[in-house]
Structures are given as C-alpha cells and as structure tokens.
C-alpha cells in the first residue's frame, strides 16, 4: 500500500480545489449579474423595503464577508429558497436527482453492453467488414452532437416507426431512447478503447506463447487477453461515467426527462437562480466524487499510477 496515501491526498486536494473554483465562479458571476433585490420585490415597493431585503440577504456587507458567508452556506447545502417552487432549492434539486441517476445508469449499462462485445470482436477480427463498419459508426458517435442524435432517434424510431415514446418518464420503454442518446458518446469511446486495449494485448509475447503451446484461439481471447486488457478499459469506462452527467442536461431537455438537467434549463427560463446554482453545484460534487472513486479504484488496481 506504499504510495497510496499521498496519491489519494493529491487527488483529494484536486477535488477540493475544483469545488472551491466552481463555488467561486458561481459567486463572482452572481455578483456580476447585478442587484438581485429588484427581482424579488414589486417595482413600487418603498425604499425602506429595498434596504430591509438587502440587509436580510447580507448584500449591505463588504464583499469579502459576503464571499465567506456564501462559502459557508454552500458547504451546508444552503442555496436559498427557490423562487418558483417556494421551498429550499437544495430539497427541490434532490427531488429531481433520482430520475437523472436512473437515466445515467441506464445509459452507462447500455453503453457497456453494446460497446464491450463490439470492441472485442473488432479487435479479434481486425480489418474485417464488421470492424470497419462498427469503428466507422463509433467515430460518428464520438463527434456527432448529442442533441441531434436524440432528434434523429425521435424522428426515426418514435415518429416514423412508432416503436417508442418521444418523451416523458413512464416505464422502461420511455427510457430506451434517452439512454441510447446519452450513452452514444460513451458507447463509441468505450468500443474504440476496448478495441485498442485488446489489440495491444494480442500483440504481447505471452499471447504468442499461449498460441505456440496450442491453446485454442477462443481460450486465448477469453482467458489470456480479456483479463490483461481489463485495467485500461475499467479506467476509461469509469471516466466516461462522469462525462455522462454533463450530457444529461441536453438529453433530458430533448426527451423532456424530469431530471436535474432539465430542471436547470427550465429554472434559467424562470429566472430561478437559486435552483440553477444548486444544480450546477450538486452536479459538480457528483462528478468530482465519481472521479475520485475511480481514481481510488484505479490506484488500488494498478500501483504504477500512484507515482505519476
């Protein structure tokens, strides 16, 4: 376990800096946006009322104090009251979180189920028609904009073929298209990386030894190759899970999926800034926690990374 503690400490520091950075940007942007008080009061409210609300929100205090108070609130998950829902912004966001988790997990599972077999087959049957077709498709999947993949799926699968619903969250069949859309990028990346990881191992000396011993090709792939190709695949796959969260905003908007991404966009339209800030922050925390866990797993699996 030598080296694991400093490795984790540096990762923890990075996570803390990232969170601090996000909250600072949120604070600065909020202050840049001007005085929020006129948004909260009717335009004909008396001057004394403005002063009272300003004092209540702490806006009459010097900026450094406001900043410290803000950081304190953030750490306690206090983002103020939602203007639209009339309750704690944090509680509202927590209520929308399960739908996002469901979508994210489904997208991730779908991506893995499709990408891993494709990657292995492409590597084993290198340069075959299957390899070239799937890798070509993967390249498209990696650079096509997520929202347009969603629109195309709605157009073809829902409207033309009438197979699946276009939007909403109502049973497993409303989950398929959003999960496919959100998972498309991860699917493409995982398939390509699996292919190259397996190819790398297939070139190794011990594979040649295994073949020379007369081990059957199927056993070479299953027993000798997959095990050794697993470490890079696990890492990259884990990192993809974090990026899924970013894509959720777009996918949820396209499919009217009631998760925190769609909540954020709607709150922007409603000018409900406490909710917007809270979603940005909650997703940041989630993303950072997930990445930290992956680093942890990776550090345990492969001692070499701890030194880098």
């Amino acid at each position: 376990m030598r080296g694991l503690v400093p490795f984790l400490a540096s990762r923890l520091l990075r996570a803390a800096v990232a969170l601090w950075l996000v909250s600072t940007v949120v604070f600065v942007v909020m202050r840049l946006s001007g005085d929020p008080v006129p948004l909260l009061l009717p335009p004909d409210a008396p001057q004394s009322e403005f002063a009272r609300v300003r004092a209540e929100l702490g806006l009459d205090r010097p900026l450094p104090v406001q900043y410290a108070v803000f950081l304190g609130h953030v750490m306690r998950g206090d983002f103020g009251q939602s203007i639209h829902f009339r309750q704690s912004a944090f509680r509202v966001v927590l209520g929308y979180l399960p739908a996002t988790f469901e979508l994210g997990l489904a997208a991730f599972a779908l991506a893995l189920l499709v990408a891993l077999p494709i990657g292995v087959v492409s590597a084993v049957k290198r340069n075959s028609v299957v390899d070239q077709a799937t890798m070509g498709l993967a390249l498209v999947g990696q650079s096509a904009p997520t929202f347009f993949i969603g629109i195309l799926l709605i157009l073809v699968v829902s409207l033309n073929l009438g197979l699946l619903p276009t939007s909403g969250r109502d049973g497993w069949h409303s989950l398929v298209l959003p999960a496919l859309t959100l998972g498309a990028f991860a699917m493409a990346s995982i398939a390509r990386l699996t292919r190259s990881a397996v190819l790398e191992v297939l070139r190794a000396d011990y594979i040649r030894t295994a073949r020379a011993k007369g081990v059957t090709e199927a056993l070479v792939v299953v027993k000798h190759t997959l095990k050794n190709a697993a470490v890079p695949i696990v890492t990259i796959t884990g990192l993809q899970f974090g990026t899924l969260l970013g894509g959720a905003v777009v996918t949820e908007t396209v499919f009217a999926w009631p998760g925190i991404g769609r909540l954020a966009i709607q709150s922007i339209y409603n000018r409900d800034y406490p909710i917007v800030q809270c979603t940005v922050f909650v997703s940041a925390v989630l993303f950072i926690v997930i990445n930290f866990c992956i680093d942890l797993i990776y550090g345990l699996l492969d001692p070499r990374v701890r030194s880098s």
Partner: protein, 295 residues
C-alpha cells in the same frame, strides 16, 4: 494517469501507404473547412432568400422547386415561412465566427498561461496547473450554462465562455515544451548573450510547438462549433431570429412529425461539419504530431 495508458493503447505503427492516405484525407478535410468559410463569407450571394424574412402563406412547405410563392425552396420552409436553405447557409456564419473566435480566445489564454507556467515555475506553475486539473475535473458545459444563465446570452459571452472552456490543452503543450527547452544549454547561452525571454519564445518555443498547436486548434474548432450549437439548441446561445444551426434544430423540434426538414437540414450539416473537422484534427495529428495521441 489515464492518458499514458491511452497513449500506449492507441499507438499503432503507420505504414507508408497509410501515411499517404492520411495526407489525402487531411487535405480533403481542409478543403471542406475552406469551402465552409467561403459559404459563410459569400452567404448573401449563395442564399436565394433573406434568411429572416417571414412569409405566412409559405409556411411549412416541403422541399420543392416551385413553392407557393413561385420560388424554389431546396430544403423547404420553416414554421414562419423562412427559406431553410438560406438559413442553413447563413448559419455557417454563426458557427464559424463563434468557433474561430473561441479557438483564438482559448489559444491565447492557454498559450500565455502555459508559457508563464513553464518559464516562471514555482508557485505560478503550481497555481496554473492546479487550475487546469480542476477545470478538467468538471463538466464545463454545466458551468457554462450557469454563467450564461446569469449574464444573459450574447455573442461575446458565448465566445469567451466557449473559448475559456478549452485553454487547458494549449497550456499543457506549451508548458512542457518550455520545460524541455529550459534545461538545454543553448537556451542558457541565449540568456548569457543577453537574449530575451521573448526571443526564446519566438525563435525556439513556438516553432517547436506549431504543429501541435495546429492539431489542437483543429480539434478545438470542432468542439467549439458543437458547444455553440448545443447552447443555441438549449436557448442559451445565439438568439433568434439570427439563424444558427443549433437554434434551427430547436425551432424545428415541434414540427418533427409534419415538417422534418426544419430540424434535420441544419442538424445534418452540423453533424457533417463536426465529424469532418474533428477527423481532420485526428489526421493532422497522425501526420504532424503522433506524440499528441491520447491527449
């Protein structure tokens, strides 16, 4: 950590015939981008109609050579009777303007910070590189959404936000190049002879990283174009009636069932642009700078 595995996992030796093919493909990609620039610049000459002029009688017309107004609408008209083909042509202006401007902003910021980190070292280096790590540890689109939500969408906000989302790669490449050169004797000799840091940067750092910068900028251009379209699709980017590809896909969403061309025409052009530009970046990388693989 992950990048080193990635690099070794991806590296495949390129045969000479493959190099020739890659060169051809990269040239093809460059021609595509040039064509797009020409279309954007000459939009008023190419577009058959005013992209924002509405026509209530000619609403939701399917692609046709002789529409209700007697004119051809190659890609049909939208829900306000505007010519979709003309809007797609004008949309190239927005995509390229925001895309190139964002690449320049990101490149300037990233390059300056990378040079600063490399030459100064010490705490400046630690601060800049920690910032870079922190930014990569977070899906930037969320922060972009938060910033634009509060500041309000405008061309400037869009360019700055998209540009700043991509500074890290430039900074890393320049920093590592400076670190490599700083330890070399001839750099010490230049300093000893009274040569300035600016001279070292201009004569020795930049020429060495030029090909890397071209590759990064190409990949960043694809990313910036897609990010602009995504933000416009979410209603946070370019505001109507200015035609942008992402905004057009958004406008056509409600009419997917009856008038599929409103969304699909700009969407397919966007997808094609994104694929060709990012593949061109990949091909350029294979040609110019194989060490960048996995960045």
């Amino acid at each position: 950590m992950a990048s080193s595995t990635l690099a070794s996992a991806r590296a495949e030796p390129a045969a000479p015939s493959r190099a020739r093919r890659t060169r051809g493909l990269a040239a093809g990609g460059a021609v595509f981008v040039l064509l797009l620039i020409v279309v954007a610049l000459a939009a008023p000459l190419i577009a058959p109609a005013d992209p924002i002029r509405q026509s209530l009688r000619g609403r939701l017309s399917a692609p046709t050579l002789s529409g209700a107004d007697g004119k051809a609408h190659l890609l049909g008209t939208d829900h306000l009777g505007r010519d979709v083909f003309s809007r797609v042509v004008y949309g190239a202006r927005v995509s390229l303007l925001v895309g190139f401007a964002a690449v320049i902003v990101g490149g300037l910021v990233g390059a300056s910070l990378g040079l600063l980190a490399g030459f100064r070292g010490g705490w400046a280096d630690s601060v800049i590189m920690t910032l870079a790590d922190a930014q990569l540890a977070f899906p930037f689109i969320l922060l972009a959404i938060g910033i634009i939500a509060v500041l309000g969408p405008s061309f400037t906000t869009l360019i700055v936000v998209i540009g700043l989302s991509g500074w890290v790669t430039y900074a890393r490449v320049l920093r590592s190049q400076v670190l490599v050169l700083r330890s070399r004797e001839f750099v010490d000799a230049i300093h000893a002879l009274g040569g300035s840091v600016a001279r070292v940067i201009a004569r020795h750092v930049l020429p060495n990283v030029l090909s890397s910068l071209v590759v990064i900028a190409t990949l960043e251009l694809a990313r910036a174009i897609v990010l602009e379209a995504t933000l416009s699709f979410l209603g946070l980017g370019v505001q109507p009636p200015t035609p942008s590809w992402g905004g057009m896909v958004h406008e056509g969403r409600e009419y997917l069932d009856s008038a599929w061309w409103i969304s699909t025409a700009p969407g397919i052009v966007l997808m094609l642009t994104s694929i060709v530009v990012s593949r061109t970046g990949d091909w350029l990388r294979d040609l110019l700078d194989p060490t960048l693989r996995g960045e």
